[in-house]
């Protein structure tokens, strides 16, 4: 991300700053996922730059989750509601999931079914390149997932929202670690 882009994001955040009368969940910021549809939900980074309970928000990114609204449908349903701890964050993850990847704790749906192996990620190669069809974000249907939160990646007309979200995670009261480590209350999923 270049300096101009970062500056514009900071300006956007300052413009979007909203005062709310609740205490922050933790000293760190967190993602909030507004679960409204499989293809077009939204993700935002919420942080508290001072000790007073004033929340600041990043720009909101379009995000997807699942390909069914039945939470208990393992491999299909969108991810469960509630607060999540993060169990790892990688810049160049290189397995089935590649590139920027943030792994979430397991979470139970209403009937007790556990959703596991959940990430915030996109479709890209480990070093952010593209290799269609599996590792490029070239269609709105790429917002579908097996349950993970999916953000867009650049190269085929979509904004590089995974990089933007990554920047806010590291630079606005987020976390500096890479690899397997926990971040408490780092994601809140609501509807």
């Amino acid at each position: 991300m270049n300096t101009r882009t970062r500056l514009s994001l900071v300006v956007a955040a300052a413009t979007a700053a909203i005062t709310i009368a609740v205490a922050p969940a933790s000293a760190h910021g967190h993602f909030e996922f507004d679960r409204t549809s499989n293809l077009s939900s939204s993700l935002v980074w919420v942080y508290y730059p001072s000790s007073n309970p004033t929340a600041y928000y990043s720009p909101t990114w379009r995000a997807g989750s699942g390909d069914s609204t039945n939470c208990s449908y393992v491999g299909h349903g969108w991810l469960p509601l509630g607060w999540y701890d993060v169990k790892g964050h990688w810049d160049h993850y290189d397995s089935i999931i590649k590139g920027l990847a943030t792994q979430l704790q397991d979470k139970a749906c209403g009937d007790g079914t556990l959703r596991t192996q959940l990430f915030i990620h996109t479709k890209e190669l480990a070093y952010y390149g593209n290799s269609c069809e599996t590792y490029c974000f070239d269609s709105s249907t790429d917002y579908y997932s097996n349950g993970c939160i999916k953000l867009s990646h650049s190269g085929y007309g979509f904004p590089d929202n995974i990089q933007d979200a990554h920047w806010w995670w590291h630079n606005r009261d987020g976390y500096s670690f890479h690899g397997a480590a926990t971040a408490d209350d780092a994601l809140y999923v609501h509807s």
């Binding site: 208990s72 449908y73 509630g82 997932s145």
Partner: protein
Amino acid sequence: MTPLRGLSRRTKAATLLAATTLVALVAVAVLQPIGSAGTRVDVHTVTVRRATGPVGGLFVAAGHVEGARNAALAGTASSPLSGWIAPVAVPTAGDRQLVYSTWRELRHTDPGLSWSKQGIHPGDALGKPTLWIHDFGPGRDEAIDTNSFSAAVRSDGAIAYVRGTDVYRAFTTYTGDIVVRSAVSAQPVVWSTKPAEYVAAAWAGDTLLAYRIDEGEQLDVLAFDGPGEERLLLADANLVALSPDGTRALLASEATVPGSVSVVNVADGTIVNTLDLGSLNQGIRWAAYGGSWSGDLVAAPTNVGIAVFEVSAGAISLRELLKSDPSTSTDGFTEPQFTSDTDHLVARGDEGPGGGTTALECDLATATCLAQERAPGSAWLHPAYNPSRPKGDDS
């Protein structure tokens, strides 16, 4: 409209039932002949009516067997680690016994809160599955194995399942081995080559099909021909159903959106036929696990309802589509299983958020499903069925 909140449970149930009945009266099955992939497809919107008596099929809920048999189990049949990727309860040949999974919380958790907020640390023990067998004759339950779940039951009584390497722990991937017992009393033999997040799915003859749950909940369908003889049948796929003789599998690929369904020879993994779901122009993006294959027909759960595919004559075609009616309380059909013929099936109806589950018995010709009356908020229900083939029923 009267808000449901504030009404008593009985009143809520009556209100929901009245609404469902009203919808049933006004809903009309819509027949849409369409031309796609060179075939004619009957597309119906399902009408759901209240059943006047018990529906067909076998179901488990809240520690009981319901439907074709009634019995009390040692615990609630439940498999949080696999959902309904594989059936929670599996009848043996002749329906004499029932193999099922239970789950014991080792620590109560609030799913609305993060683990850290509840003082749960990495490695803390949270839960433990147990695999049981219930004998309908004496009405007795016996634990087959602890820290085990997801049974595939072969016609000769051999049972394959997943035996965990440890209990389910926070921030730790639950891994286990695929093990096989030639009989309940026999010693388990490890078939998998290394621990992974497996789910035993079904026997295809003497070959065991299982899932490996990978990153992002990608499901890979594996075939095990014996101890240490593991091969990938299809990556990023769901096992919809096995052919009656167990030689072929209908697998649903999720590698693209929309996905596809393929008939695959289990013995060597060759793909016999493939149907791209997008070519049907029915809004079907995916087909899923928990289907049923009888004769040349396969009933498959999809994102729009139950699809009935014909898998004969060297091709796969869509014969019928039973669409969920979004105006009814039942917004999803899962685990559709043909009953004694291909004109009827039983399934589980999943209600919307905050709702529960319903046992359904559906007539494909009239696109009508009878729903077992259940009080709102009652226990989660699962069909009990055996996806392994051949069935070997002696009944």
